[in-house]
Subunit: 435 residues, 2 copies
């Protein structure tokens, strides 16, 4: 059996926001159990952040302060560099490359850099003896990177479905529980700290897309590529959509989806979808994250937990440090061949069921006009739902379809939008019948 070495592993933490501070605190709080599990003490020897004067909730004794994070990476008393600065460009990149150049392992939570500059990171790793681990970049404390890279390594992964953005899930599940409107719940999310002052990056799906790109790269062995993902967010989801979805037995969730088609091409999207209320994903409430993985041997595995926050994310950062201390040294994406470009499926070919909400003037012939368009576009209806009648006034009509290629659905929706009795573009969402 491996025996413990006693020299501490010396850790430098660059970036002391919520996650950075919690990481240092965790390494101090749980030092004894960590040393036992890692086989050697894990010691924070250096930190770096903008403001040295700011009070920190960890013990500064014995820790060198670096004003320059690159100097931290180069500090001879630092063996492992933890990059928690963030951002695809600038200082974070400089820190990571400085560390790898010195063959120092890197732990990073930088999803933007990995998702947008995966090729650059792989090139930097190619010319280094060190590894880079990034459990904290996706789904906070949930060990989903390790699960894909190691736990399910025996499988061809068929599909990944993720609730990857806590802001969006909080908003959608609160709208569902309370019937309140999007803007109202968004305001509450800001007050509770679940949404940024400028929430665009979260609610328009970009944050989830970065994370999906990383999961997809691991699942399918491709280079991370955010631009190969169809991205839409949750701004268009109204309380009407939520109420009607509920009536039909569904919940609305922002899902990141990466799915292998029979021909090997990968469909990738981030969008608000209807999932059956009995689906495990429908029970993921509030700011939680969840990832649903489907493999050829394991079947379906679901992981649920806190997707953000200082302490859960620090748990993921420190798990990576423990792995390094234990000698783990794997390729970035868990495969030894060079990752290839993902063969992307044309999203218009994607087949599935759809939910449409139309706001129409309640007058004779509207349903006939809509039905004729759907027939002409070869979209087959499953249900039609209209609540109440209010002649001459605007009412909602809800349609659900049988399996339909997305291009046909889009064509039908565009044609329906042009009808004079239809007051706004139809709101179209996919139905994902996940059990």
């Amino acid at each position: 059996m491996t025996s413990a070495t006693t020299a501490p592993l010396r850790i430098g933490v660059a970036g002391l926001g919520n996650v950075g501070s919690a990481t240092v605190r965790l390494l101090q709080d749980n030092a004894a159990v960590l040393a036992d599990r890692a086989g050697r003490p894990l010691l924070v020897t250096a930190v770096s952040a903008r403001d040295e004067k700011r009070p920190r909730d960890f013990d500064r004794a014995g820790i060198t302060w670096h004003q320059d994070a690159v100097a931290l990476a180069q500090d001879p008393n630092v063996d492992v560099v933890v990059e928690l600065i963030g951002g695809a460009e600038g200082k974070a990149w400089d820190v990571i490359t400085a560390a790898l150049k010195l063959n120092k392992p890197v732990v990073s939570a930088n999803k933007a850099m990995l998702a947008l500059r995966g090729g650059d990171v792989l090139a930097a790793l190619d010319s280094s003896q060190a590894a880079l681990l990034f459990e904290a970049a996706v789904a906070g404390g949930i060990p989903v990177i390790k699960t894909l890279r190691e736990g399910l390594a025996a499988n061809h992964i068929n599909a990944v479905y993720g609730i990857l953005n806590g802001t969006c899930n909080f908003i959608l599940s609160t709208m569902t529980a309370t019937g309140r409107a999007f803007d109202d719940v968004l305001t509450e999310a800001k007050v509770l700290g679940y949404a940024e002052a400028d929430p665009t990056f979260d609610i328009d799906g970009h944050d989830a897309a970065h994370k999906l790109a990383l999961l997809s790269a691991l699942a399918f062995g491709g280079m991370p590529a955010v631009d190969a993902i169809k991205i839409s967010g949750i701004r268009a989801v109204s309380s009407l959509d939520i109420a009607f979805a509920r009536e039909l037995g569904y919940r609305i969730r922002l899902l990141g989806i990466a799915r292998r088609r029979a021909d090997g091409a990968i469909e990738q999207s981030v969008e608000a979808c209807l999932v059956p209320q009995t689906s495990p994903l429908a029970t993921v409430e509030g700011p939680l994250n969840a990832v649903y993985l489907s493999g050829d041997y394991v079947g379906k595995v679901l992981l649920t937990g806190a997707g953000a926050g200082g302490k859960p994310t620090a748990s993921a950062v420190v798990a990576d440090i423990v792995d390094i201390a234990r000698g783990q040294h794997l390729p970035l994406l868990g495969q030894f061949s060079a990752p290839t470009k993902i063969k992307m499926a044309a999203i218009g070919e994607r087949v599935g069921r759809y939910f449409l909400r139309l706001q129409v003037i309640d007058q004779p012939g509207v349903i006939a006009d809509v039905s004729a368009i759907l027939r002409d576009c070869k979209v087959s209806l499953e249900t039609v739902l209209q609540r109440g009648r209010d002649p001459g006034q605007e009412v909602s009509v809800i349609l659900t379809t049988h399996d339909t290629p997305q291009a046909q659905m889009d064509a039908a929706a565009a044609a329906i939008a042009k009808l004079s009795s239809v007051r706004e573009a139809p709101h179209v969402m996919r139905i994902e019948d996940l059990s």
Copy 2:
């Protein structure tokens, strides 16, 4: 970055039941992606089972047949030994020790041996250079061993709650969905292959206890000890219990629970419990397994998936083989110090809420008698539920309590059982308010 070596890792599989056959098949089916992920080909060079003549659903070409599994372990063309024979004694033990003696890594799904003879296994590992991995021993394809040993390694684990036996979960969730009786559903479970001909080991909680002992050992760093677990099964759960629990907003699940008290002692039990219908554990249906882990930094993480079956379990076996090929070499329980005996909490001190079902003769004074006993035992009631009145006939009375030490609850139940108007011993179950 690590570069791939090309020499194959040669694998011997001892035991060709469902899991063994699926393991060989997986290694053959997914050989290309496995070689890429492992850094070298994974090649089955030897197998062993009782009946060489029996047809197998994998390619026998190039695979040596050993009539004796120990000879397989000693075969110089075997680098890694996969033990899928099972049982705490006998051949499985001989195979594992023969392999470790030759410093060959072992992958095993043998929960009985690890749970009942953890000390022996640790001693065998102590005198070997090789490691033993056992992901497949708990919860089939769900990577829960890796999650505890690595993914959540940064945390002090506070609690583990597991739905660890698919047979029991199938029976309980089917009883809930259909209202059918225990015996009736057990018969169906046998037909469907979810229950053994002799289901004792599963439905009386012993299988779940073996798995809980392993999770508890990993979570708390102690030696696995099944005898430190309070075990009861699901035979006593009636369709009345299920219906009343449902009416109170709960579902009944067989839970393995290992929980650290404030004083560090560990409460361990396997028993049928009520969980809120909104709890993620309540949505785990059919033969699925789930493990809910609570850590000081990560918060709560839930893993759900197939807990048994050839293919999912083979996924776990082969993940361990990939880990070995990648050079993973950790202590059995992920800690470098010697595991100590778990400091067990006296189960009578355990505090919690309870559900009681009484079958009483509907006559004046029964509730008063029961209430007096509960008052004398300092058990505080939360709800009392009696459906219908049928003077002189047997009716169910359902009680739920506020937090109560188990010893007081047991004393009250024993006293209630002696009342002449009470027709059978009260059925007492814990309420676990997991959110």
